[in-house]
């Protein structure tokens, strides 16, 4: 067993990394909401891991989705009803992809673009909520608002500092998160448009 914490900006990079781990003999067992990946040793290197981007309006729909893929031999190793990314393992390598035609690949990119766009909007909203002045975005120290915090010492300093850190990180980081998600959303959008154009060229 091995646990790894890793954050990815891009689902395709994440998929490549997980397949590299498989090649090294580490098979994904589960992923939690904080991106802690649990791996198990495996000798079967024929396996393949694929990501799908789906969230569900009801628990029943989620169960039906999982049952549908299970019929095709895919094993659900990560993802929840709300997680949007779903992790699928195929132990046989018989079907090496979740998608077999262009229009479904196009739709996959479209879903990714939408979801990252939604994250970016959420980060924008947070940015507005916590906005005081622009220096809070460039200097983490300025994102701490406790008066005289940096002159305090010992216990007084640490208790105030630790208490405020989550807020300060939110104040400092929200526009950067917005930028990151915005860029990923755009990248996915261009991939989606490119796939769509390829399809039009073919018909």
């Amino acid at each position: 067993m091995m646990k790894k914490l890793k954050l990815f900006s891009d689902a395709q990079k994440e998929e490549r990394w997980l397949n590299n781990m498989l090649q090294k003999g580490w098979q994904l067992k589960r992923v939690n909401a904080f991106h802690v990946y649990t791996f198990e040793k495996t000798s079967n290197k024929e396996q393949i891991l694929r990501l799908d981007c789906q969230s569900f309006t009801s628990e029943q729909k989620f169960q039906e989705y999982k049952a549908f893929f299970a019929d095709f031999g895919w094993i659900h190793v990560g993802g929840s009803r709300y997680s949007t990314l779903q992790y699928w393992l195929n132990p046989t390598n018989k079907d090496d992809s979740l998608f077999s035609d262009h229009s479904s690949i196009t739709q996959y990119f479209q879903r990714l673009s939408k979801i990252y766009g939604a994250y970016a909007c959420f980060a924008l909203f947070i940015t507005f909520c916590v906005f005081q002045n622009t220096t809070q975005f460039t200097n983490l120290k300025d994102a701490y608002y406790t008066p005289g915090l940096w002159d305090k010492n010992g216990y007084d300093f640490w208790s105030a500092f630790l208490f405020e850190t989550p807020f300060a990180i939110t104040r400092f980081g929200s526009p950067w998160l917005m930028l990151m998600f915005g860029l990923i959303s755009l990248t996915m959008y261009f991939k989606y448009k490119k796939e769509e154009q390829n399809q039009l060229d073919r018909t």
């Binding site: 799908d52 549908f68 893929f69 095709f72 895919w74 079907d95 992809s97 979740l98 077999s100 479904s104």
Partner: protein, 107 residues
């Protein structure tokens, strides 16, 4: 008349609609399509899942009640059959152009 967004049908959609002239569940659709296409077309799980969602949205297929609680069974609707008719006419027309072309060459 404006053409429907999904027309002309992709190969995948075509095979799914043709297979669903009899009621089938997800995996059985894939198997049926594989047989119908002599093993040429193997629809992947994610593609079939998305296609079914789409076809249900346009009411070209419907859910049919079944004894199997775990698997949903689908069947083509009258609207779906009409779409197949439209596609059939399109294919017949193209086919006639093919054959017309060959006749010209012979003449």
């Amino acid at each position: 008349m404006k053409r429907h967004k999904l027309l002309p049908l992709t190969e995948t959609m075509h095979y799914i609609l043709l297979a669903l002239r009899k009621p089938l569940h997800g995996y059985a659709i894939m198997q049926e399509v594989e047989t119908m296409s002599n093993g040429e077309v193997r629809i992947a799980a994610g593609t079939l899942y998305g296609a079914i969602e789409n076809l249900l949205k346009y009411n070209w297929i419907v859910l049919v009640p079944s004894d199997d609680s775990r698997r949903k069974v689908y069947r083509i609707t009258d609207e779906g059959l009409e779409i197949l008719e439209i596609e059939k006419r399109r294919f017949m027309h193209i086919l006639s152009l093919y054959e017309g072309g060959f006749n010209d060459e012979k003449a």
